[in-house]
Subunit: 526 residues, 2 copies
């Protein structure tokens, strides 16, 4: 049995000052696991935020190389966790073994990607405008700019990626890379897994000589609100529901000092099926799309929740194929009982709407999720009926048939912000629907062509973000190396002596990074 | 007399549907100018936002070169305005002729700087991760990212820079450069000047074939709230008071779709006088600092409002010199009657505090602003008393004497976020106060060495921003080319056919810009 004591992580030590305990559960049996977790007291929340604040001046000033070492050490510690860890995560989430192994690889890969970003140095965004002492009518001072971490960051992990979007996941990795200590609110759905990961982070921090308080973790219901309101916290990363994310945004905006919240929340990820593609390969598209809807029991932020096609015999045939695919599927166990309850509520709310009908899927079951295919009137999109706009988390999707291209554009216009939109089309389709892409660009963070939105590559060019309500701030991404930018701010130095400048801005360019010098990119020393 | 009709600018036409009229005033005499301005009706506010939304799809898709032409055309139109325009601005603001001429040069210079940024192409932040079809265990898709304008932007200009921070000022220039149409709320203090500038913008838009609605302007009290709440508006730029800025932030955060607000608000711009510098050149520093406090009647966001020194005979001598400098100054006319009233309220509130005493400055006068030098107990900073934290806009500054270096650090710790902080010191001072700079970096957007914060260079490396309450979002700047980033968001394309990609991301790299390709910066075609 793993060594799990359920104490909060505060400033490099463990703390269990409170008396309220919580338990996580075996996701398949519903049975409580034998580990009590001690809900952080208000004093412990404060201590965790203070510990992060104390670590900040030291941590932000460490060289990028030192921070890269730390991230790589976390990756190595994660990779070294044994099969008992994988089993524990599997038990808490009902996600299969192979998935957790793959997700661990992605999580350590993310940490290593940020280490690369730190060494590359472009995150520093160094800019130098040299003095022009003889300029008329006034001389120009020497001005140099780079970016530094905003301060301690509060991170709220997701239930559906217990590793990649949780304790040592993308938000934590991005914040640490930026030089921001983290206070992580352990997700109630996988607290034992979170503890094992936190242990790995703390071991890595000790091995690489990081300041105590660089990573803190607290357990408990309701402790997140106190964390977001804490004056030491300077930014928030969140992945979860629209309701939860919006509540945090509202709290953060109402603070005496408002802070930014990067919440990834609700997306229905429309998939547009264009006529030629449907005519040529409708049956294959139905099989591929069904696989994307069902992947991980539909528990992906990018699950295609809306499928739009223009009325045609090919679309009708496709509908029959997709209905058959979903009707045949066995039920699957979801992450936890609440997730299943929300899925049922979501499907029930859709079916209660007079404009929505049931196409296929066996009756909802009390313990597992049964895939569902629904059909909605195009008018619900065109009139922006709220019923279609909020994500139903789980293996359900909604078909919408539009009369023609004009109605298609109207339907797309009615969509709220999305993480993704997908075009399935032949070259001739894309040509004849050229006005669709500019519209989708305004609605989403990522446009896919002839692929499916589940599966998010962790790379420099990825955008896992998008206009509200997909996220609370379309200017960020929570996957990929650009995620670091959310936790950086620029600062500039005017006529600063060279030896006092950060290395990124010194004349000799000791980091060897690309800098914008007098309006031109250069790696040269000055 | 200039041709001023006071109608709102909506979608390339003029509109005066309302019956409420407003007047601007001769700042020196208080007399109303003979131009009625028609307060926008709720319908007109809606129409202005809708016009911007209609212009957005066309405008954002124009080439960067086309937008650069537009900005340069605005600059040319501004530069071509005659001496009657300069006189009009002078009359509305009481700012001297030479200052307005200089400010016009800065304003057209800003527009031309953004044209350069557009041609340079780094604002696009193009990133390409090429497909890896043979990667194991899963192939990698082709992912390409760039940035586009967020949508229509509402801009609120400042009273103190009727050109550079107003109608065609930095926020407008940055938003237009980003591809975002603007709805500008004309500042009540200089509506006639605003109309002349808006005419110049509209002429430039027509000459360069911009879509109607690319720039709109509305007049009136209270119309700003309706504008910020309008669903078409996607971001807000604001320069003004903490109270006004925070009110807009709160409104924007409470929208069904919250939007970002970039408000530049309140900064007291601490200046630290270090011992050796004071001993060597205390009298000169007193003269230079007085000039910075008095420049433009203290009506600068970066006016040094707090001067901190360590107790010493040199600091006492400096205090006498500074007091003498400020005692000798004649009163000056402020921007308008409300600004003078606020100045009086601010000085009176400071003097009402038992920890603050009057050092020099003649009695406050009913029509003009009299410079004032006050002294505050160090305990007010150390205990973070709110009385010292909010900017007093006008020619007043507060001296604080600390006992020693330890008390200096404590005092700096108590400071809120600032636009600037300044260190006046000899090399030996900077060495012996090495722990001051890391603390200041956490508090400000710009650190100056042996200079004065008034006078903000418009360049690539400038940061005119900083932690709250200096601004509402420390990740932005409202001066310099980085200001464009506030109005951009990333979008990515997965497996997009080359001919459908934006030029910035096409294989041939037709724009010839630097792109991050598979983790390396490159200008090559693929």
């Amino acid at each position: 049995m793993p060594d799990i004591i359920g104490h909060n992580y505060i400033g490099g030590a463990r703390s269990a000052a409170g008396t309220v305990t919580l338990y996580s559960h075996d996701a398949s049996s519903g049975e409580a696991l034998p580990y009590p977790f001690y809900q952080a007291t208000p004093g412990e929340v404060d201590a965790a935020a203070q510990a992060a604040a104390q670590a900040y001046p030291t941590f932000r000033n460490l060289s990028a190389e030192r921070r890269a070492h730390f991230l790589e050490a976390i990756a190595a510690q994660l990779d070294a966790l044994g099969s008992d860890f994988i089993e524990l995560v599997t038990r808490e989430t009902a996600l299969p073994n192979a998935r957790i192994l793959g997700e661990r690889g992605r999580t350590s890969g993310q940490l290593r990607l940020f280490a690369q970003v730190l060494r590359r140095g472009d995150f520093l965004a160094a800019r130098i405008d040299r003095a022009q002492p003889d300029r008329q009518p006034l001389p120009r001072a020497d001005i140099r700019q780079y970016r530094l971490g905003v301060g301690p960051v509060a991170v709220f992990g997701a239930s559906n990626f217990p590793l990649a979007f949780s304790t040592a996941g993308g938000d934590t990795a991005a914040a640490l890379a930026a030089g921001c200590p983290v206070v992580f609110k352990a997700h109630s759905g996988h607290m034992a897994s979170a503890e094992q990961v936190a242990d790995a982070i703390i071991r890595a921090a000790e091995l690489t000589g990081m300041p105590k308080g660089v990573f803190n973790m607290i357990y408990g219901a309701g402790v997140g609100a106190a964390l977001v309101k804490h004056p030491a916290i300077q930014a928030v990363g969140f992945t979860g529901s629209l309701k939860g994310g919006r509540a945090l945004c509202d709290m953060a905006a109402a603070r005496p000092q408002p802070i930014p919240v990067f919440a990834e929340m609700s997306s229905i990820n429309p998939v547009l099926l264009l006529p030629q593609a449907l005519a040529l390969r409708g049956e294959r598209i139905a099989a591929e799309l069904a696989a994307s809807v069902l992947l991980g029991c539909g528990q992906f932020c990018t699950k295609p929740g809306l499928v739009i096609g223009v009325r045609s015999p090919a679309f009708s045939a496709f509908t029959v194929h997709l209905a058959a695919q979903l009707a045949e599927q066995p039920p699957q166990t979801m992450l936890n009982a609440q997730t299943l309850a929300s899925y049922h509520n979501g499907v029930t709310a859709l079916l209660a709407h007079p404009g929505i009908t049931h196409l296929s899927g066996q009756a909802l079951q009390p313990r597992q999720a049964q895939p569902q295919l629904l059909r909605a009137d195009a008018s619900l999109l065109i009139e922006a009926d709220p019923v279609l706009q909020e994500e139903v988390f789980g293996p359900a999707t909604v078909l919408v048939e539009v009369a023609d291209r004009y109605e298609l554009l109207q339907a797309l216009n009615g969509l709220h912000g999305q993480l993704t939109a997908t075009l399935i089309g032949e070259p001739s389709d894309l040509q004849s629907h050229a006005d669709v892409l500019p519209l989708l660009e305004q609605k989403v963070g990522r446009v896919l062509f002839n692929g499916y939105p589940t599966g998010v590559e962790v790379c420099d060019a990825m955008v896992h973000g998008g206009p509200y309500p997909a996220t609370s701030d379309a200017r960020g991404t929570s996957v990929g190396s650009l995620a670091i930018e959310r936790f950086l701010r620029p600062v500039c130095y005017q006529n600063c002596p060279d030896e006092l400048l950060p290395e990124a801005l010194q004349n000799a360019n000791p980091l060897g990074i690309a800098r914008l010098v007098d309006g031109r990119s250069s790696r040269e020393s000055l």
